[in-house]
Amino acid sequence: MLQQYAIIGIFLLGAVGTAVGSIVVNWLVRPKPEPKGDKRATYECGLETIGPTWVQFKARYFLYALVFLLFDVETIFLYPWAVGFQELGFLAFVEMMIFIGILALGLWYAWKEEGLKWL
């Protein structure tokens, strides 16, 4: 069990190593003088960029994140249930359907309140 996760760890290190390695190769091969001046300007439409970029953004994205959170937590409950589904018997099935029903009710409410509408 622990060995399996050790191999996962090797994969993690190897992936980071691959990415860093390719950037190092790039550093070895590329022309050395550091780019300067207009080359380092922000590339948008060919004009100078106007105003700051890091501004407060509309909360629409936040609402999606909230609904996502709701269903993602549900996923965590559903996966163990799905694994044991065939042994758990009929009652567990009905219980889970009630649980999903409550969440579907929440989705319906968000829908009704136009929480899912893109403005």
């Binding site: 060995q3 399996q4 050790a6 191999i7 996962i8 090797i10 994969f11 993690l12 190897g14 992936a15 980071v16 691959t18 990415a19 390719s22 950037i23 190769v25 790039n26 550093w27 091969v29 590329r30 022309p31 780019p35 080359k39 380092r40 300007a41 922000t42 590339y43 948008e44 960029t49 970029t53 890091w54 953004f57 629409r60 994205y61 999606y64 994140a65 609904v67 996502f68 269903f71 993602d72 996923t75 559903l78 996966y79 799905a82 694994v83 044991g84 589904f85 065939q86 042994e87 009929f90 099935f93 889970m96 359907m97 999903i100 579907a104 989705l107 829908w111 899912l116 509408k117 893109w118």
Partner: protein
């Protein structure tokens, strides 16, 4: 041919069998890693060529045909060109986050391959939470895209990364739910057991709706057209990747193609019978099925126009998610009926 890779692994395992346990794990882990990296890089190189050719033929063009016979060396030329490009970091960018993002995006793209059964007994790590691990690791891609978009200090990049978060986060829900039906039938999260359960019939026959939902959600997860709102060349000029040049840009695209291969691999494992097939070696069957699925992804990409973001997210929450819930319900009822008929108990 069937045992060529497993024999290789057994050979290396034989060499280190006298050493302590941790040395064995380390050597085998590195071997699996090298195998997976080779698989990813070869596939990515080939996919760049394939995508350009497929798109060309769909649009009645010839595509790349100058470098090598039929342009087959085009991806090599591309890779060499990107490798020699200078490294431009915009003046106003958040330097550290900007440098980190391409590294972070490649990590989940490689790590997800750890649980893919490439052939009979050819699975790097047979985790008991295999499918769940795949979903959990793959979801961190969002973070890297957000980092890249935010740190570029470019308005298009920020728009793109905001879209990426809304899109990938939304489509994660139907993706996770569509897999649930398969897990219920197989009764396991181990990818090896899910493949073993498909020996007689593929799960696409039992889960046609689940496969459709998986396919659509996976297209959105890997940001491919018609759902490539994150990049959207015509409206937000490549989105989060706009300020990236040279190798960093190449890493983003490498990760993108690696993700495409990964979702195709998972799709084949879950719905198309994994490595099961007659006559040919199991790993070849797996590769053939993966490429058929990738071809369908490309076909979709070059056939449908891009969808507007409000329609796109509406479609997710109001069509795909209820459908996925109905799919779970139907699968549950079907399984219980089957149990009642064959075993006489609920």
């Amino acid at each position: 041919m069937e045992h060529i890779f497993t024999d290789l692994a057994a050979l290396v395992a034989g060499w280190v069998s006298g050493s302590p346990q941790w040395v064995q794990t380390l050597v085998m882990g590195c071997l699996y890693l090298i195998g997976v990296l080779t698989f990813i890089f070869l596939n990515c190189i080939f996919l760049i060529y394939l995508e350009r050719k497929v798109s060309a033929y769909i649009q009645q063009r010839l595509g790349p045909n100058r470098v090598g016979p039929r342009g087959i060396l085009q991806p090599v030329a591309d890779a060499l060109k990107l490798l020699g490009k200078e490294d431009i970091i915009p003046e106003k960018a958040d330097h550290w986050v900007f440098r980190l993002a391409p590294i972070i995006i490649l990590v989940p793209a490689i790590m997800v391959f750890a649980v893919i059964p490439f052939g009979k007994n050819m699975i790097p790590v047979d985790l008991n939470i295999g499918v769940f691990y795949f979903l959990a690791v793959a979801s961190t891609t969002t973070l890297a895209i957000l980092m890249g978009g935010w740190s570029s200090n470019n308005k298009y990049a920020l728009l793109g990364s905001m879209r990426a978060v809304a899109q990938i986060v939304s489509y994660e829900v139907p993706l996770a739910f569509s897999i649930l039906g398969v897990v219920m039938i197989a009764g396991s999260l181990k990818t090896s057991q899910i493949v073993a359960a498909q020996e007689n019939y593929w799960f696409i026959l039992l889960q046609p709706l689940g496969f459709l939902i998986y396919f659509i959600a996976a297209t959105a997860e890997v940001n491919r057209a018609p759902f490539d709102l994150v990049e959207g060349e015509q409206e937000i000029i490549a989105g989060p990747f706009i300020e990236y040049t040279g190798m960093r840009f190449a890493l983003f695209y490498l990760a993108e193609y690696a993700n495409l291969v990964a979702v195709s691999c998972l799709g084949v494992t879950l719905f198309l019978g994994g490595w099961h097939g007659p006559w040919l070696p199991s790993w070849l069957w797996f590769l053939i099925k993966v490429y058929i699925l990738i071809f369908v992804f490309m076909w979709t990409r070059w056939t449908f126009p891009r969808i507007r973001i409000d329609h796109f997210l509406d479609f997710n929450w109001k069509v795909l998610l209820p459908l996925a819930l109905v799919n779970i319900l139907l699968t549950g009822i079907g399984l219980k009926l089957y149990q009642y008929i064959t075993l006489g108990v609920w």
